[in-house]
């Protein structure tokens, strides 16, 4: 398993094996990385990519196998040794201190602890040079907490480059980036490779892997199941290698829409901080129909989700459930109206990290029979319910008593999905339901939403992924600065057409009637 002939091998992994209890996270993995090469490490969540890189970087010690960097064996278990050997890692969760400046973060750990001076002046010059050479614009004195996610990632990359890393490992670097930030990152990586650096790019996004890598290694269940030159493959084949089976794209059957279960007419909601409110939104969610909401994030999606989820009430216009305005409107009223919610941020608002799966499964229904009677919890019923979700929705976990913190994002999302769908909702509010999930989990969640639609639920699918919206929706609205486009039936719009609306074209002259804007 060598890189292209002729290139110097800078990194070689040989027979790396790592067990966590009964779980075999890495099974005899061997490969080499050539100088000036980008290899993509592709695999689903839990395939063992991050474990492998943590071994390489010294956070974990392998049970078996060796790592060689520039021909010299790397002592296991010491991040400092990896850094000294020229391996730099950009972690998926940034390891930056928010209250310190970018420069301070870059300097951390670069000099002996007992050195008398920080050496900030020389460092500043070097950082400026690296910023210029690699296209990593960051103000060195900016507080990291005030930087955007893309800028923070640049600080992380600068940290590695500042330590003269010759091998860059990027763990899911694009998971948190906008498309523009992603292309800027790729530009940086190309510059790095041109200067002779080697890159390991960990991802489960096929498009990016195809774009940036020269070679792809596919991991599945801890084993290296394939290695191909990127030029010799395509997205479809990579996807199959990754999940080990044919992938069927979710398909919508033709179905006549039912009655409108929830309607909004000319609704305004207030602005919340930087998030725009809704402005004159008219919308109908119909039974047996998926309504897709496309739009660049931060254009009022949160406001619409908050309104339907009961967190917000209209300041103007009207909302009707089954043709009548609700008496009062709150999250509890929304639940009582059989509105199920899949929240945007599963960690912050979807689950309680240190609660068990059982507790999380009944978060929304704990006060109802059979989970509680006369004010007493019936934990047996709750646990049975959790077990049912685990079985039906294929939630991989140690059991219902495990804390949900220990689950991967995909499994956490499956539990949330199960919790929402098992209540037999009439309306489903799915806000970014597949963000950050791997292909297997994405397909699973999407098929479940379609199944709910086929059973007669009205689904509102909010997504920043235009492909997803177009594939799953019966009708599509575009949201832009709190305003909603007309409904476009399935198949009537091209991606370019929707993209125009997402950029604000097509919306009439600024909406000025009523109080919201006059104020």
């Amino acid at each position: 398993m060598a890189p292209e002939t002729g290139a110097e091998v800078v990194l070689r992994l040989d027979g790396i094996t790592k067990r966590f209890g009964p779980l075999l996270a890495n099974d005899a993995i061997s490969f080499g990385l050539g100088k000036g090469e980008v290899i993509a490490l592709l695999g689903e969540n839990g395939a063992g990519k991050t474990t492998l890189m943590n071994i390489l970087f010294g956070h974990y010690t392998a049970d078996e196998g060796t790592v060689e960097v520039f021909g010299r064996p790397l002592p296991p278990g010491h991040p400092r040794a990896a850094l000294a050997a020229g391996v730099g890692m950009v972690h998926q969760h940034f390891t930056l201190a928010d209250n310190m400046t970018a420069l301070e973060n870059i300097l951390l750990g670069t000099r002996p602890l007992l050195a008398p001076r920080l050496g900030a002046r020389a460092a500043r010059a070097k950082v400026a040079r690296l910023s210029r050479d690699f296209g990593l614009a960051v103000h060195p004195d900016a507080r990291v907490g005030a930087l955007s996610v893309g800028e923070r990632q640049r600080v992380e990359i600068l940290k590695a480059l500042y330590r003269d890393a010759r091998i860059l490992i990027l763990d899911e670097p694009t998971a948190v980036l906008t498309p523009q930030e992603t292309s800027a990152l790729f530009e940086t990586l190309r510059k790095a490779v041109a200067q002779g650096l080697s890159v390991i790019f960990i991802s489960h996004k096929l498009g990016e892997v195809m774009e940036i890598s020269s070679r792809v290694l596919v991991l599945r269940h801890g084993r290296l199941v394939g290695e191909v030159a990127t030029a010799d493959t395509d997205r479809h084949r990579l996807a199959e290698m990754m999940v080990g089976a044919e992938i069927a794209a979710p398909r919508l059957s033709e179905r006549a829409p039912g009655p409108a279960l929830l309607t909004l007419s000319e609704v305004d909601t207030p602005r919340r901080g930087n998030a725009p409110g809704l402005r004159g939104v008219t919308l109908a969610l119909r039974a047996g129909q998926i309504t897709g909401l496309a739009g660049v994030s931060g254009n009022g999606q949160t406001a619409l989700a908050a309104l339907i989820g009961g967190l917000e009430t209209p300041v103007r216009g009207s909302m009707e459930l089954d043709g009548a305005p609700p008496a009062d409107w709150s999250p509890r009223a929304a639940l009582a109206a059989a509105i199920a919610r899949i929240p945007e941020d599963r960690h912050r608002t979807g689950t309680v990290a240190d609660f068990t799966l059982t507790e999380n499964a009944v978060l929304e229904s704990y006060a109802d029979a059979p989970f509680s009677r006369r004010g007493w919890m019936n934990w047996r019923a709750a646990e049975d319910f959790a077990r049912r979700i685990i079985a039906t929705y294929d939630v991989r976990c140690p059991g219902p008593a495990a804390r949900i913190r220990l689950l991967s994002g995909g499994n956490m999302q499956k539990l949330i999905l199960g919790r929402a769908l098992e209540a037999e909702p009439r309306i489903i509010l799915a806000n970014q339901p597949v963000r950050g999930l791997d292909i297997g989990a994405v397909t699973f969640v999407q098929n479940r939403l379609i199944a709910a639609r086929d059973k007669g639920a009205a689904v509102l699918l909010i997504s920043e992924d235009l492909d997803e919206v177009m594939a799953l929706s019966d009708v599509i609205h575009v949201i832009y600065e709190g305003r909603l486009s007309p409904a476009f039936p399935r198949g009537t719009m091209t991606p370019a057409g929707l993209g125009g609306w997402m950029a604000g074209h097509g919306f009439g002259p600024e909406y000025t009637r009523g109080g919201a804007d006059a104020a």
């Binding site: 974990y60 991040p79 928010d98 310190m100 973060n105 951390l108 750990g109 602890l113 007992l114």
Partner: protein
């Protein structure tokens, strides 16, 4: 006007600086702990231990500086207990801190009774004497206040600068602050969060103990059980007041000390005849609370303060 007259006397400022000195030691100690991410509520007890051991060492015939050293080492020992329980074991910093305070206070009382079983009033030692700086101590107001103090006071003020420089100008200080902001960032550089935090708690506790020793070896000349009297808790507030910055925290200590010196003097004015003295005693605390409310609104708490770090946990 009485207050103005008081403020214009040299003795008022000299008293303020003297009262501030132990607070500065202990506040800097607490600040170091908190900057590394550990709240050290053992401060009150560690000050008691420092006061007792320093005084006892001198009483047993050793030199004053030996006393300071012994007090510091005793404080570091209790710091080690605190650090072991809170850092590698990750126990609740509140519970451990209060426990250390109780343990240290009781240890001091126990050791006192063992060593001096039949004494009714505690024996006196010869404390540090004022050491006027030639020339500078002649300056009006500032001279007696800042340049005619005991060596320990000078040490306190030197330490403000030392702690500032170490925290902000050295790799060690950077790593220490990072351990309190995001321990994962320290870990990712292959440095030990555990060592960083334990070191900070131990060194910080040593400073707290010197603060306690100041009371028995510079401000007074013998040891009383109640002499620390909540100063440790004041220092915790001063760290917040100073927004976790050494200079501002020391300024806070001076401010508090000035209020304290003021209230003693106000009691002796005609006002003292009809206002109960407890009201005057309250003054520094009330003013401190007000200052705290006003100053600490926008303070940036170390992000990982009181968050135990377990390697490998998400």
């Amino acid at each position: 006007m009485d207050i103005l007259e008081i403020i214009l006397t040299a003795s008022f400022w000299a008293a303020a600086v003297r009262i501030a000195s132990p607070l500065i030691f202990a506040t800097l100690g607490e600040l170091i702990c908190e900057r590394a991410g550990v709240l050290n509520l053992g401060i009150e007890g560690i000050m008691v231990i420092g006061a007792f051991t320093g005084w006892m060492t001198v009483y047993l015939g050793f030199g004053l500086w030996t006393g300071v050293l012994v007090a510091m080492l005793a404080g570091m020992l209790f710091g080690l207990v605190h650090a072991t329980l809170t850092v590698p074991f990750g126990l609740s910093q509140h519970v451990v801190g209060l426990g250390v305070t109780l343990l240290a206070t009781a240890t001091a009382a126990f050791a006192y009774r063992l060593s001096l079983p039949e004494v009714t009033s505690p024996p006196k030692i010869v404390p540090f004497q004022p050491l006027p700086v030639p020339g500078l101590s002649e300056l009006p107001l500032i001279g007696p206040a800042f340049f005619a103090q005991t060596p320990l006071t000078y040490l306190a003020f030197v330490l403000i600068a030392v702690v500032s420089v170490v925290l902000y100008r050295t790799p060690l200080g950077l790593a220490l602050r990072a351990a309190g902001e995001n321990p994962a960032s320290v870990e990712a550089q292959g440095l030990s969060v555990t060592a960083m935090r334990m070191g900070a708690v131990i060194v910080g506790s040593g400073l707290m103990a010197i603060g306690g020793a100041f009371l028995t070896m510079s401000a007074f000349s013998s040891f009383f059980f109640e002499m620390v009297n909540g100063r440790g808790w004041i220092c915790i507030a001063l760290v917040v007041f100073g927004a976790w910055r050494p200079g501002k925290a020391a300024l806070g200590a001076l401010l508090f000390a000035a209020f304290d010196a003021l209230q003693v003097r106000l009691q002796q004015t005609p006002m003292g005849a009809y206002v109960p003295y407890q009201v005057f005693l309250m003054v520094p605390y009330i003013l401190s609370i007000l200052a705290l409310v006003l100053m600490s609104r926008r303070a940036e708490v170390p992000a990982a303060l009181m968050v135990p770090f377990n390697k490998g946990e998400r």
